[in-house]
Amino acid sequence: MPHPSADQPAALVIRTAGTNCDAEMVRAFELAGARADLVHVDRLIESPARLDDYDLIGFPGGFSYGDDVASGRVLAMRLRLHLYPALRAAALRGAPMIGVCNGFQALVQLGMLPGPERAGDWPEDAPPAQSVALTDNISARFIDDWTAVEIDEQSPCVWTRGLVDSELPEEARARVLLMPLASGEGRFVAATDEGLKELERRRQVPMRYAENLNGSMGRVAGICDASGLIFGLMPHPDRYLDWMNHPFWTRLPGELRSGDTPGLRMFRAAVEHVKSGGAAGSSTIQGSDSKGARV
């Protein structure tokens, strides 16, 4: 059983049939200073209260239920039917959540992203209706490639906080701040253009592709909820925990390959947020709290 403590937050990584990036995400949380449990979604559906034990929640990548019908669709449906109240409670107590790739696809269809307009306004009975989608790449093909990303440093997103290494010269930053993308249905689409503008205005687009490999609207790579605690993205920070994951590390000078990788920095930022009292199993409503912690 997890023992949440300020020193070592507890992370829950949720897997199901077809999840295949769970080990990477567990490792990411562990390297970032959390302890991580990998739990099958069926066990959580049997006892949703287990979610209450965790400070952070991760939805890893893969092909949940074969991505039959659409990527993440069946997982989203099952979460909606069985686990929304527990996830809502986690959101309300300020637990950072991350959905990577297939996890992002599920969170979007579940309605946890982009979430309610105002932080904390989670409807009680059912999650907000789906308002954005991730669908077939414009090439209609699966793409595995690395891409440079742009970070909105004004976003409330706790996961991308400090991701841009301001110490580095811009040219070096551009060589390092890359993310691996591996998806067939990664193209971001908002239901309406206005919807996307609204998200941008509220700084809920913390990450964009520098090069739009999959044809996403607004080059959106990831979005967060209004509180900045729940973040979903198509790229895989969990595959960029070591410098030797970098696509051309053999060309990088040694000094650029030191410290945390950008992938690990993301998990570190969320774990540190919890450690600094952002969530830590407390029952505070996160809205103002997380803003306070960010300063």
Binding site: Y65, G66, D68, V69, V74, L81, A129, S139, A191, F248
Partner: protein, 1062 residues
């Protein structure tokens, strides 16, 4: 965005004629909303264009047929929660009308064909509605404007569906009920063979798809005469499966009488293990495989190679990785299924090889996949029906459908010399009847491997594609898998009393006779005759099985089973037969969970339905295993028990005995006849093109070589594969500044965080053994091993820790010439493995790869030997990549270059005479060079390293520059100045710029070294042959000293990227 403003699904309910609330088939269509881009529809348009058809418009819809007692509200809930995206799609109940002028094609899986999405939807509908009785079928609907009905139907067959596994409807399909099987009447069938004459035995073997030889049929007859009874059908089938080439490798393991028809100074047969040279110069070989490939490994083990843990006995070979972990590796082929249904064939090829890894020892975790494909040149073949001219010509002539005539097929031997697609002399052939177009085959096999590997979460990270028109009817699909396991789990042994437990997918009528089918020869009617051998995979089922097995293996108190193997070729028959070989086994066939009713006991026994594993489980551990399987949603079934009196295989159905065979006869009863093999150096085929052609200008030759499909970028394929899942891919298949450089091998970290790596690579040197150019399979085998080792060394592998695998794909070895070629390749494996100290740890062969056209012409594939290798990288920080790093660095060519253009790509392009000599690996110098280069890399003296093979030295340098090339600008882009005449030549043959630059002599490396490190390199290389051939520059051009070549790297890159940019 407030919830209120969020999109709601648009619903449009069309008229339904059956409002009654019964168990009817409800049809739901899900399509893109108007105005939304639909990449799937666009892709159909794009692909139709490659077939010469311009579609004005395509609309795509997913179709779900749900048979259940759903009321309207339930259906709506299912559609909105599950089937349609509210943001992107709209759903319709029933069949929407086709747009004006559009023709409908709808594709559904044939009854009994695996439909994974239907299973998922069925379970989800059950969860949403609480209903129990639900059947689902999925389909795809295309509405196409701008084509005739005939063209639409052709598109359906050529692009959208494969009639072997799909039903094609010309209008929306609205069945009254979904097909399901009915119960099969049960009676025990015996087959009368005791009195059959020899011709009758042969007839029975062919017609019942047993594919046993006359000798084998006679052995079966003798056994049942001894028993004094006729065999049952299931007994004959069990013998046919177990004795199939696929399962028992009877050709490679047979005794061979080999005779060289002309003087042979290449191989000395004296003193080889298991070989006897007679006075007349014939060589008698006792068990070819054991006397060559296996012998090399055992001699190496005796000579101090102490890191192999399991060789040739398990589903995969196992070597030590570190003190705690072992890695295992296996490569399989799935050629014949891929010829008929490339998507399913390749996917299940990948899935089967992955299961081999899961079923190695007590179970390994798959951590990498590999794939190599051999297909015909897509641009050389036309499908008459689809081009307008062909349609006109066809007129009323029915025979127009039967594509190839014998003169085309006869010309194949010429085209085998692979003219470049751009050449005006390229012959275009009519696709023979019974063949799928090579473009479709390549597209679909890539998709099959992609979908299986990606879904399983296993990175596919090494591969190659080899083009040759002789693969038109018989493509090759090699799928490999690498696994990691704790060293204590490398061996398993079933115990008497253990339960026979099947895990995973249900058994259906798919894949019947796959094992024996692989022994058959492909012909123009194979698709009809063997459609039952084809299967569609379900990767998520296999992923669930993997999750469950790893939990059961790692259970507290030890594994919950004593042995494990996969259900591959031959199904339960092979799996249970192998595991129970020493114990006997009793099986109750009615216990196997079925996909549908109606299977006979024999079908259950030999079905090759996918995603199944067989475990030997001690009775007291069964409950714990059952619990894990329940948690992972994996079906478990107890089929019977290992251990019988007298070690028999006893098969029962509903209690009644249907078969009884002694394990001894099953496994040792196969006769081992002496097979005849001959060798005569084949006469090269004279190419008209090479006689008439002027020597090519070197710069044009370089661009043509880079654009040769064998050499050109495979990024279109590599980037469709998730080669980074599991997060441990440290050297990726594509490397360099923009991820375009063709890496020599990939490196993964099997145990993340340990800093110890595993390099995965391959060698393929088909050109050197090609009979069309007078090649010698012995030299081909040496070159393939040499290339595999170099590929691994170039990324940082320790050449003292490389294990290799053999995969022979050969034309029929009933022809003594082909068996002679096989003998020579096997001798090459023995010599090469010993010289490089690279033990073979596993392998597989496929020995009937040829296609006979309806005109009766047999097209044999070129003998093909894939050598795959894994090599331990002691410290991943020492890895290097092949992309050029910095201006001012020196370029070194290590190794000797001869004027031996035989089998080279320059020769394929007509730049060398047809009877040019084929290079031979120097077995003393080659291994020394590999060790020396590895030493340089380990000491950090090398900035980049690239093996020098297809296309030769200048192509290797060009690739290193392409790897360094930034995409957008030339400013500061790296280039190179090369003096190719400086290379170290072997004596004897007159060299030219072409042979220096484009010859494919083996054992060569291009290294990039900082000027300051040259002295250390010089000292380290000592007396080995090497020279400095040039320098990296910053002017973005590749130039040779005599200005023979002066080309922008961007131009090289464009030529290299273009051919396979599909």
């Amino acid at each position: 965005m407030s919830p209120a403003s969020a999109a709601r699904p648009e619903t449009q309910t069309s008229q339904r004629d059956d409002s009654a609330l019964g168990s009817t088939v409800r049809r739901v269509e899900v399509a893109s909303r108007a105005g939304r881009t639909d990449p799937r529809a666009e892709a159909v348009r794009r692909q139709a264009r490659t077939l010469g058809l311009a579609l004005d418009d395509v609309r795509f819809a997913q179709v779900y047929l749900i048979e259940a007692r759903l009321d309207g509200a339930q259906l709506q809930r299912v559609a909105e929660l599950l089937l349609a995206s509210p943001v992107l799609q709209m759903w319709t109940e029933g069949a929407s009308p086709a747009p004006d002028g559009a023709l409908t094609v709808e594709v559904h899986p044939l009854p009994g064909v695996m439909d994974p999405a239907a299973q998922t939807v069925r379970d989800a509908v059950r969860e949403i509605t609480g209903l129990d009785e639900i059947a689902v079928s999925t389909g795809r609907r295309y509405d196409m404007a701008g084509v005739t009905r005939e063209q639409a139907d052709l598109l359906a067959r050529r692009l959208l569906a494969n009639p072997v596994v799909h039903a094609i409807h010309a209008e929306p399909w609205r069945p009254q009920s979904l097909p399901r099987g009915g119960p099969a009447p049960f009676e025990v069938r015996t087959i009368d063979i005791l009195k059959l004459t020899e011709p009758e035995l042969e007839k029975l073997s062919r017609e019942a798809h047993l594919f046993l030889s006359l000798d084998e049929m006679k052995a079966v007859q003798a056994e049942f005469r001894r028993l004094g009874r006729e065999p049952t059908d299931i007994e004959l089938e069990t013998l046919a499966q177990t004795w199939s080439e696929h399962c028992v490798h009877k050709t490679l393991k047979s005794n061979i009488r080999y005779r060289a028809e002309d003087a042979d100074d290449t191989i000395d047969f004296r003193g080889r293990p298991g070989h006897t040279v007679t006075d007349t110069g014939e060589v008698v070989i006792n068990n070819l495989l054991r006397s060559t490939v296996v012998a090399a490994t055992h001699e190496l083990i005796a000579d101090g190679v102490d890191w192999t843990l399991s060789v040739f006995v398990d589903n995969a070979g196992i070597i030590a990785f570190d003190d705690e972990h072992a890695v295992c590796v296996k490569v399989e082929t799935h050629n014949h299924p891929s010829a008929i249904e490339p998507y399913g064939g390749a996917a299940t090829g990948a899935g089967g090889c992955i299961r081999d890894i899961i079923g190695t020892g007590l179970g390994a975790k798959p951590i990498a996949n590999t794939d190599v494909f051999c297909v015909a040149y897509p641009d050389h073949w036309v499908e008459k029906e689809l081009n307008a001219k062909g349609a006109e010509e066809r007129g009323g002539k029915k025979s127009g459908k039967r594509g190839s005539d014998s003169s085309d097929a006869a010309a194949l031997n010429i085209s085998a010399l692979a003219l470049p697609p751009s050449s005006s002399e390229t012959s275009e052939f009519n696709l023979p009847a019974g063949c799928l177009h090579p473009r479709r085959i390549l597209n679909d096999i890539v998709a099959g491997v992609r979908d299986y590997g990606n879904r399983m979460g296993i990175p596919t990270l090494n591969g190659a594609v080899w083009f040759d028109d002789r693969h038109v009817g018989n493509p090759l699909v090699f799928c490999g898998c690498v696994g990691v396991m704790p060293r204590r789990f490398t061996h398993g042994d079933a115990q008497p009393g253990d339960r026979i437990v099947a895990l995973g997918g249900r058994t259906g009528r798919d894949g019947i006779h796959g094992a024996t089918f692989s022994s058959a020869e492909l012909t123009d009617t194979h698709a009809d005759e063997f459609s039952h051998a084809v299967q569609i995979g379900n990767a998520i089922e296999e992923k669930r099985v993997l999750d469950a097995i790893l939990r059961a293996r790692d259970a507290e108190g030890g594994p919950l089973y004593t042995a494990i193997t996969d259900c591959g070729a031959g199904g339960f028959s092979s799996a249970v037969g192998e595991m129970g070989e020493k114990l006997g086994a009793e099986v109750h066939l009615e216990r196997a969970p079925l996909k549908y009713d109606g299977l006979t006991y024999t079908e259950i026994w030999i079905s090759e339905a996918q995603e199944r594993m067989v475990l030997a489980v001690p009775p007291e551990k069964l409950d714990a295993l059952r619990a894990i399987c329940a948690e992972e949603s994996v079906e478990l079934c107890e089929l019977g028990e290992f251990g019988t009196e007298g070690e028999e295989l006893i098969l029962r159905y509903t209690g009644k005995e249907v078969g009884r065979l002694s394990m001894k006869f099953l496994h040792d009863g196969i006769p081992t006849p002496v097979r005849e093999a001959t060798w005569k150096r084949p006469t090269p085929i004279k190419l008209k093109s090479s006689e008439s052609r002027e020597p090519a200008p070197p710069d044009k030759a370089l661009l043509q070589l880079l654009a040769h499909p064998n050499i050109a970028s495979k990024r279109w394929i590599v980037r469709q594969y998730d080669h980074e899942v599991q997060g441990a891919t440290l050297i990726k298949p594509l490397v360099g500044a923009e991820g375009e450089g063709p890496g020599d091998a990939s490196v993964i970290e099997p145990v993340p965080g340990t800093g110890r790596g595993l390099a995965i690579g391959a060698g393929l040197a088909t050109g050197f053994g090609d009979p069309a150019v007078g090649g010698d399979p012995y030299l081909m085998a040496l070159a393939a091993i040499d290339e595999c080792v170099r590929n691994l060394v170039c990324v940082g592998a320790d050449p003292e820790r490389i294990a290799i695998l053999d995969n022979f794909c050969w034309p029929s070895c009933a022809r003594p010439e082909n068996l002679g070629a096989l003998v020579r390749a096997a001798e090459g494996c023995y010599d090469g493995a010993k010289a490089y100290r690279t033990p073979f740890v596993s392998g597989k062969d496929s020995l009937n790869n040829q296609f006979t056209t309806d005109g009766g012409v047999t097209i044999e594939i070129p003998p093909t030997l894939l050598i795959s290798g894994i090599g331990v990288v002691p410290d991943v920080r020492c890895c290097v990549t092949m992309d050029a790093k910095r201006a001012g660095n020196r370029l070194l060519l290590v190794g000797r270059t001869g004027a031996e253009m035989g089998g080279s790509h320059a020769q394929k392009l007509g730049f060398a005479v047809p009877d040019a000599p084929t290079p031979r690996v120097d077995l003393r110098e080659g291994p020394r060079l590999a060790r020396a280069v590895a030493g340089l890399i380990e000491r950090g003296l090398v900035s980049s390293a690239h093996d020098c093979s297809e296309g030769g030295a200048l192509v290797a340098v060009a690739e290193m520059l392409i790897g360094a090339c930034p995409e957008r600008s030339d400013a500061g882009a790296l280039g190179a100045d090369i003096d190719i005449t400086k290379i170290v030549r072997t004596g004897g043959l007159a060299a030219s710029f072409l042979s220096d630059a484009f010859g494919e002599s083996p054992s060569r490396y291009v290294l990039e070294v900082e000027a300051a490190k040259l002295n250390d390199v010089r000292t380290a290389l000592g007396d080995l042959p090497w020279t400095e051939i040039g320098e990296v520059t910053d002017i973005g051009r590749l130039r040779t000293r005599g200005s023979e070549v002066d080309l922008a790297v961007q131009e090289l890159k464009a030529a290299w990227l273009a051919p396979l940019d599909w």
